[in-house]
Amino acid sequence: MLEFKDTVAEAVADVQDGSTVMIGGFGNAGQPFELIDALLQSGARDLTVVNNNAGQADEGLALLIKEGRVRKMICSFPRQSDSWHFDAKYRAGEIELELVPQGNLAERIRAAGAGIGGFFTPTGYGTMLAEGKETRFLDGKWQVFETPIHADVALIKALKADGKGNLVYRKTARNFGPIMAAAAKQTIVQVSEVVPVGGLDPENVVTPGIYVNTIVKVG
């Protein structure tokens, strides 16, 4: 049942210790900073976080990692010039890393939302990241078996929601939002604007409200 919350603290109040949390965003675009800050404040710990990166500078996901709340990262590109908090935890052996090619990350998240139990993809064949994985020759190519990534919670950022929970995004901030919304048991969305039911053109809805549980207006 869709709920509109007044504060980000209320929006993330039900996130449990030990949860797998998907966090939208590619770099800073689409990263739900306010929800992440609220998650930090909530004290939730022992989290597995799914995000393309592993935090940048001293904000958002980077702080969650710094504070030791993240047990494991599932991501494609942890190492950046400003990923110092992740780097420190990783070198200290205090955080687990599952490194996933970005397309496999996206497709595995999509598979979870779409009810696909696993799929074969050419990406990664013959590389370190496919070591120990099942391979099969299909459609003229060697392919690697990959499995879905499910989550308990998704924290995402959209531009607008209507009263039914339908979402639209803005430019490249769309990125992982729509597929994470479908892959998580509970999807929590921060938006810049809430419009009445009927305020979004049905042709242009990107995430239908069926994938959304909680909405909070931010800023």
């Binding site: 779409a114 009810g115 009263g163 339908n166 479908a182 009927g198 979004l200 049905p202 239908p208 069926i210």
Partner: protein
């Protein structure tokens, strides 16, 4: 996907809540009443679509149609008819405020990914284990057609079947084992019939209520052990 065990309730205590068997519309009304507020629902094609006539505004139910829409409204009439806006049965329908359109892979991802709360389907047979047979009579000369039946049967959180309890030749369609080709295995959670509502549970088939027959009279009509 069997319903939560209700073994705390003594078996065989279902009440006769109507003195007569239920007609199609009364049955549709009953199904509609049982759908939780805020649910996302697919009503398949044919008889189950009657359920939409009895959903109330307060329930805030969103209807899905497999051909790419959430927020489907009632059948279109007169000037409302638009050939680009049809339901899974290819009948012209309308769009409600808050609707959304999406392509076929996204629509079936929604169904197959377990996002629909309830789907209501017709059936030739349902087994005591919740197997569903509703796509093929098995007749050797029949041209088979499956549509979205297998996706709905497998994907929805709850699969409700609406059917008459007895076939034209007087045999129960809730059976120990399906003899028709199945659509899905162990997928049905409830069976709404003119004579009773059945819950398919881990402990077997439980009768929730009966219509025009007593529990004992009902049990006489069927080869399936009832609780």
């Amino acid at each position: 996907m069997a319903e939560t065990s209700t073994s705390a309730v003594p078996s065989g205590t279902a009440q006769k809540t109507s003195d007569t068997p239920l007609g199609r519309d009364d049955l549709a009304r009953l199904v509609a009443r049982d759908i939780a507020p805020g649910s996302f629902v697919n009503l398949g094609i044919g008889q189950p679509t009657l359920v939409s006539n009895y959903l109330t505004e307060e329930q805030n139910i969103t209807l899905h149609t497999e051909n790419g829409m959430l927020g489907m409204g009632p059948e279109a009439k007169g000037d409302e008819i638009d050939p680009d806006l049809i339901n899974a049965g290819k009948i012209p329908v309308t769009e409600l405020p808050g609707a959304s359109y999406f392509h076929h892979a996204d629509s079936f991802a929604m169904m197959r990914g377990g996002h629909l709360d309830v789907c209501v389907l017709g059936a030739f047979q349902v087994s005591a284990k919740g197997d569903l047979a509703n796509w093929h009579t098995g007749a050797p000369d029949a041209i088979p057609a499956v549509g979205g039946a297998m996706d709905l049967a497998t994907g929805a959180k709850d699969v409700y079947v609406m059917m008459t309890l007895l076939s034209k030749d007087g045999k129960s369609k809730l059976v120990p084992q399906c003899t028709y080709p199945v659509t899905g295995v162990g997928c049905v959670t409830r069976v709404y019939t003119d004579k009773a509502v059945f819950l398919i549970t881990d402990d077997g088939v439980r009768v929730r209520e009966t219509f025009g027959v007593t529990f004992e009279e009902l049990a006489e009509l069927m080869d399936v052990p009832l609780r």
